[in-house]
Each structure stands twice: as structure tokens, then as C-alpha cells.
């Protein structure tokens, strides 16, 4: 009898995990942010902190230890409720659609110059408001530029832009908040690399274990208008 129970339990774990899609997909279009703008936010997502005076927004994220030793070729910060929530160097806890609205609210101008068809070939660089992105966490006492938590053999000065792409983000729900090369879906991305450049040229990006806190620890990411 106990064999059957063990067997049933093991199979249940396997099968539940197969069907255990993120269940926080519902959104509430009646929500507003601290500025009063209407926003879209999945249940369970943490609100974006907006500081209009400093022209900055702050989101919470989790360090994804997978990328200490394994490379990523695209995903910088992705909302955990998005399609690619587990495939980013930092797992964002705020909804990417709310991040878009928050950047608009602090006066950032979206580029909206990339089309989805350009996603697979090295073609254009993302346009839009230039942003300074910093990372900090409890006890650190300072802000570290996002570029400093990334290591790669191909070193270029990071040029993070507010790509916009709200409609594409809303339709695809990838969750992409910050991509490491120009992206027609992400809210912000690095203009130092053209679309699909990291993947086509096989440029690997890791996060630095010697700088960031351990896997699973929370960090705050600050997006500030340059």
C-alpha cells in the first residue's frame, strides 16, 4: 500500500510542476500608481516606487544565481509573472507594464523605433530616453551602476534607453523590463548592442557573484533619467 502512496506522491510532484503555470495572470485595469495614472499590474506584483522630483523609479528584484556561472544572451531584468520571468539575471518583482507607465510619469520619452520583425536579425539599435540604471540592496549604502554587475568578454559602455514598446509588451507578456541588447518588446534595453546581436554574435553575459548578494536575495533597481 505504502508503495502506491509513494508512487502517487512522486508522480503528483512531477505532474503538478508540469501544470503549475504562474497563476497570477489576472490584471486589474482600475489600478492607479502613486502619481494617479491608470496602470496594469498582475496580482502579486509589487508596486513601482516613483520619485518624480528625482526623475527616478525604483523596482525590487531578486538575484538569479543561475547566471553566476551560466550565460544569458538577452534578459537583464524580467518581471517574474512574465513568460521569461525565470530567465533573467535579475527577476523583477514589478509588472513591466507598470514600469512603462512609471517612466512616462517621470517624463521619459519612449523610443518606439523597433519592430517585432527585426527581433531575429542584427539590424537596429533601440532609441528613446537615456537612463542611468543603478542597483543597491540593504546594507550596501551606495548605488552600483547596473553595468558593474554584468561581466562579459565583449565590454561596451552600457547605453540604456527607454525603448517603450508598450503594445508589444502588453501583447506578448514576456515580462521584459530591461534587455541586454536592443529589444522590440522590452520596456528598456541596451542600445550599445543592436537587436539580436548578443545571440547572433554569441556574446555571453553573466552576473558577478563577487559583487552581488547571494541567489534569492533582494536588490533595488533604480532607473533615473540622464
Amino acid at each position: 500500500m505504502y508503495k502506491k502512496i509513494i508512487l502517487f506522491a512522486c508522480l503528483s510532484v512531477m505532474l503538478i510542476s508540469c501544470g503549475n503555470q504562474a497563476s497570477n495572470a489576472s490584471s486589474n485595469s482600475q489600478l492607479t500608481n502613486s502619481i494617479g495614472s491608470a496602470i496594469l499590474r498582475d496580482n502579486g506584483a509589487e508596486p513601482v516606487i516613483i520619485n518624480a522630483d528625482k526623475k527616478e523609479i525604483i523596482i525590487e528584484a531578486i538575484v538569479n544565481g543561475k547566471y553566476f556561472t551560466n550565460p544569458s544572451r538577452h534578459h537583464g531584468i524580467v518581471f517574474e509573472g512574465g513568460k521569461y520571468g525565470d530567465r533573467a539575471v535579475l527577476i523583477g518583482l514589478s509588472d513591466e507594464r507598470e514600469v512603462y507607465q512609471a517612466l512616462i510619469d517621470i517624463g521619459a520619452i519612449a523610443g518606439n523605433n523597433l519592430k517585432l520583425e527585426e527581433y531575429t536579425k542584427v539590424s537596429k539599435n533601440v532609441d528613446g530616453q537615456q537612463l542611468d540604471v543603478y542597483v543597491t540592496w540593504d546594507g550596501l549604502g551606495k548605488e552600483i551602476p547596473f553595468a558593474e554587475i554584468i561581466k562579459s568578454d565583449d565590454v561596451r559602455d552600457m547605453d540604456i534607453r527607454f525603448g517603450g514598446n508598450f503594445e508589444a509588451a502588453k501583447d506578448n507578456r514576456t515580462g521584459c523590463i530591461l534587455c541586454l541588447d536592443s529589444c522590440p518588446i522590452a520596456i528598456t534595453s541596451d542600445a550599445a548592442y543592436a537587436t539580436a546581436e548578443l545571440e547572433n554574435k554569441k556574446i555571453d553575459k553573466f552576473i558577478r557573484e563577487d559583487i552581488l548578494p547571494k541567489d534569492g536575495e533582494r536588490v533595488s533597481v533604480i532607473f533615473r533619467i540622464k
Partner: protein, 135 residues
Amino acid sequence: MKYFIVLYNTFLWAMIISFIMFKNLWLEMRMNIGLCFFIIWALLFIIFIFINNKKHIFEKHSIFSLINLIVCFIIALIILSPSAILYTPSSIIRDGLYAKRLLKLNTINIALFIFMFGGILIILISSLNKKFNKK
């Protein structure tokens, strides 16, 4: 016990297949390898339970499982780097369980360690018990 032996060995094979998939960055960027791992494990488990019922391929199960563990560990070291072995298996399992916030990689590593070494110990002890009982 035969269910546990099949479960244990198919876990190792599913992990190796997942590592190969994980090392393909194109796949890793687009697919949830963790989900693939659990699907592959479930399929292998069902297939090998069926095969084992007909052909008894796990007859010398303790030696088979021990060699399988060693071979799979060596293959894992070849596919991944020694440093990546600390993060990759646990991240695959975490992604498959959709437990990004709930589980830290270290917690899964401890559970994996207990399953791998506890599992092989249980298999070896049960095999020894059987021999003593026959005598």
C-alpha cells in the same frame, strides 16, 4: 522498492538530458528547461516501469544504480563546469516548480544532495537486506 529504483535512475537520465538542453542557449532563452525536465522524468519513469515489468532490466539494481550515479556525475561535469554544477541542477528544478521566490538554490541543493546520496544508500541497503534474507 522497484518503483523507487526506476524513479532514482530516470531522475539522473532526465537531469542529463536537461543539462544538454540547458547548454543550448537558444533553447535556454526560450523554453522552461525545468518544465522539460519534469516532463522527461515522468515519461522516462512510465516507460521504464513498463519495460522493467517485462524485461527486468534493473535486476542487479544496486550495482546498476551506483554505476549510473557515477557515470551521470562524470557526464554532468563534462557538460557543465564544476562551478556550474552548484547552480544549474537546482535552477532547473526551481524553474520547473515555478518557485522563484519560494526556494533558494542552496535549499534545493541540500534536497538534491539528500535525494542523490540518501537514494543510493537506500538502494544499496535494500539490496543487502535482500541478500541476507535469501541466505
